[in-house]
Symmetry: C2
Subunit: 129 residues, 2 copies
């Protein structure tokens, strides 16, 4: 697959294949793409920690790959996945997109599915992206 990486990375949108909800956006380098393909579980490259991280490696909330789509310019991926666990977000929500903008400010519109301190510990090292 001929992908266009920018500074070595390509953004990957993760979508719940059953509900159609967008769960998160992460970044992959070529190694992460290969590991995702080989393992069948979504693996990103963490820009903050500068290393590969398989989503769920700490929480157990893995993202099982069902299909990978490529966009017209080959510079973005859309992964159809099954979320193995109550939430994708390290803050305890099913989706990382749990806030919406309103004229009066931001509003949380999802309910929390789990207590992140119990899943990730106080340090919460599995921050997103």
């Amino acid at each position: 697959m001929d992908l266009k990486f920018q500074d070595g990375l390509i953004p990957a949108i993760i979508q719940d294949r059953h509900t159609g909800k967008v769960l998160m956006l992460g970044y992959m380098n070529a190694e992460a793409v290969n590991k995702t393909l080989e393992s069948g579980y979504v693996t990103f490259y963490s820009r903050a920690r500068q290393k590969l991280w398989t989503k769920g490696e700490k929480s157990g909330h893995h993202l099982q790959v069902r299909e990978i789509r490529v966009d017209c310019d080959r510079d973005a991926l859309l992964v159809q996945a099954d979320l193995r666990g109550p939430g994708c977000c390290h803050m305890g929500y099913r989706s990382c997109f749990f806030r919406k903008m309103t004229p009066s400010g931001e509003e949380v519109f999802l309910r929390r599915e789990f207590d992140p301190s119990k899943v990730y510990g106080e340090e919460n090292p599995e921050s997103q992206t």
Copy 2:
């Protein structure tokens, strides 16, 4: 809204609010975010052309904003939108994600909705992102 831009940009996923289909991924700078909010139509910053572009400015296929969501780390946006036209992709498909990876290679799984040369002209200047 306190957003985290990287090199001045934030990725914005555009999702059809009726079907849940992911239509495209683009990038916004602060000015594009403001213009999107003020106009109610999705406006990106084109990295290739280094200027703002309102989706549909050439094709007429605008993206009308219905809701903007922000992710946990405030470094990605998810825009719920109505697509005004037959397709979002400059190659004639409803979604830019019209190809999927298969064990034997890539496969186009969407049908073409319009002839891009008739909408964009031969030069097709409204390339994605």
